[in-house]
Structure formats: C-alpha cells, structure tokens
C-alpha cells in the first residue's frame, strides 16, 4: 500500500512537471511569435503589405471578374461582374446598390468611386512581393509614378475606406486592416521615399 502511494505521488509529480514545461513552452512560443510579429511590423514595407493583403483590399482586387465580399471573401452574391469599365454592367452598376458612403441601415458598404480594381491590378492569390512589384510597375499600375502611388495609397477615399468599413447586414462591424490608418500612411511615405525597395523573401 505504501509503495503504491509513493508510485502515485511520483506519477503525479512527473505529470505536473510535464504540464508545467509544456505550458512554459507554449508561453515561450507565444512570446517569440509576438516578438517576431513586432519585428515584422516594424519595417515600413511590412506594414504596408500587411494592409494591402488584408481582405478589405483583396476583396476588390479579385483574381476573376467577380468581386469578393464579406469576412470570408466569398464571391459576391448574384454573380456580380466587373463589366467593361470595372463599375459593373451598363444597366446594373456598382452604384445600383453601393453609394458614396456606408449604409448602416442596409449594411451595404460604400465610398466614392466604388469599383473593382482593373484586371491588371489583381492581388488575390499573389504574394506580397508580387503585389508590390505589380503596384510599382507603371505598365501594370495605370502609368502611375511612385509619387502618384503614394498619393493613391494615402489620400484616395476608396483606399482609406478600409479603416471605416461600416457594418454588415447583420449590424456586425467589418474587420479593419491590422495596421492603424496613420501608421499605414506613415509607412507608405517612408517606404516610397526610401526608394520603394521590395525585399526578396
């Protein structure tokens, strides 16, 4: 009987020790990941790309001709298509439903110039390096200079809508990009002013 109690005590001690180490390991991993995230988000390029690869941007830079919508980036309901000028079809445009500001009554998002990004500006499915290369390439960015890209990213109402995305039809707030607006604007300016260098990954 006494031996059994000793065995049991030793077993409990070993289990507790293991759990303790496992927990320490988890905590340590978490801290390392947080540290890595901090490091990653410290570089202007990384901050910029953390925003541009977020669903608030990607949903309107889809790989196909149909916009994406929602937090799960599903294909836009009712087979909505981009049309010839990226504003929808001639009798059914984006503005049939989307106006120049969010509508909290219907949950329909809105901002000035609501439209899909042109086909040559597809971001869905691309790496952040590919997106950056494409964005800074005048052949694929509508002939924009670095300064014009900076202006577009930091001043265009449709881009800045990402930080004021309103609520959905259920009244749930849409997710904002992972970097604050002011921080993003600062990062864009720093990155482009420093030559818009695209790192290799």
């Amino acid at each position: 009987m006494r031996i059994k109690i000793i065995y049991l005590s030793i077993s409990f001690f070993i289990i507790a020790l293991t759990l303790g180490f496992a927990n320490m390991d988890d905590n340590s991993n978490k801290k390392t990941k947080e540290k890595q995230a901090e490091l990653i988000l410290d570089a202007p390029f990384d901050k910029v790309m953390a925003v541009l690869t977020h669903k608030r941007c990607i949903n309107c830079h889809p790989a196909g001709d149909t916009p994406l919508q929602g937090e799960d980036s599903h294909l836009h309901n009712f087979d909505i298509v981009r049309g010839e000028n990226d504003h929808g079809l001639s009798a059914y445009t984006c503005n049939t439903c989307h106006q120049s500001e969010n509508n909290d009554y219907s949950g329909v998002p809105g901002a000035p110039h609501w439209a899909l990004a042109p086909r040559e500006m597809v971001w869905e499915g691309k790496s952040r390096i590919e997106i950056a290369q494409q964005m800074m390439d005048p052949k694929r960015n509508g002939g924009r200079t670095h300064e014009e890209i900076m202006e577009h990213l930091t001043e265009h109402e449709l881009v800045l809508w990402a930080w004021d995305p309103g609520v959905d039809a259920e009244g749930e707030a849409r997710e904002k990009p992972p970097v604050a607006k002011d921080e993003f604007i600062k990062a864009v300016k720093e990155w482009i002013s420093d030559g818009a260098i695209i790192p290799s990954e």
Binding site: N77, A91, N95, D104
Partner: protein, 156 residues
C-alpha cells in the same frame, strides 16, 4: 432635415430625422407611394428598385439625403399620360406576375435596362436583371422583356 426632389414629375419634400434613412421609407411612409416594395432591406432582392436620374437604384440602400434635387421615378410614375409603359404593357400581355410582390422592382429594373440596352439578348437579361422572384416567374419575365423591347422599337 428637409429633402426635396421631383418624384414622378411632381416636386415633393420630405422631412426625415436622419438623412441616412432609406429613401424607400420616405417614398412609402412619407409620400404614401406603396408600389415600391420592401423585400430584404439589404439591397439584395431588388423589390425596392426605383430610378434616380434614370438609373436603377435599390432604394432600401439609398440614403434619403442623396435624393436632394434628383429626379425620382417609382412604379407609379412609369406610365405617362395614362398610357402604360411598354414594360407594363408587355408584363400584362405575358401575364407575368404570380403573387406580384417583387414585380414593380423587376419592371423598374427592366425599364432602366432598356434605356441602356434597347434590344437585350438573353445573356444581357440574365446579367443585368438580377432581382429575386420567389414565385420564379423568370421565364415569363424574359419573354415580357423581349416583348417590351419590341414594343419600344415599334413606338420609336
């Protein structure tokens, strides 16, 4: 706030406590024009389709304040001088409606489409008329849309 606009050819004003409230409410409750229907309330079904400056708009998602100074047309204003609009005539001849609830929205969407695409193909119809009909009158609507296009070209 007071919002003034022309609706079905008449200058009207509505008083709304919130300028963002849907124009549909002002039309139905403020102006007592009940032809435009509330369907889903999230700009998906199209039952509330009206024309704003000639373009189809989902009025459940259109802030009343945006109507200021605009030309609004609802189903009540589609006919002119007591003559049915070709879309209404075609709808009648093809006996399109079943329950009828969604039909004003479809007719307004169709009338707007025919201005842009006078002779729509089946694909044009499928792509541009994406309202929802729970009675599934789509087949009869397609026939009526082609008939309306033909009536339009006869009239012109």
């Amino acid at each position: 706030m007071k919002v003034s606009f022309t609706i079905n050819g008449k200058l009207k004003s509505v008083e709304v406590s919130d300028g963002n409230s849907p124009l549909l409410w002002a039309i139905r409750d403020g102006l007592d024009l009940k032809g435009t229907k509330f369907g889903c309330g999230k700009a998906a079904c199209g039952a509330c389709t009206i024309h704003v400056d000639g373009k189809a708009v989902r009025s459940c998602s259109f802030p009343t304040k945006y109507a200021e100074g605009k030309e609004i047309t609802t189903i009540e204003g589609l006919s002119v001088d007591g003559r049915l609009h070709p879309v209404q005539q075609a709808w009648k001849e093809e006996v399109v409606p079943q329950c009828g609830y969604c039909q004003p929205g479809f007719m307004m969407a169709t009338a707007a489409m025919l201005k842009e695409i006078p002779n729509p193909t089946d694909d044009d119809i499928d792509n541009n008329i994406i309202n929802v009909c729970r009675c599934a009158t789509y087949y009869r609507m397609r026939k009526a849309i082609h008939k309306a296009a033909a009536l339009n070209s006869q009239n012109s």
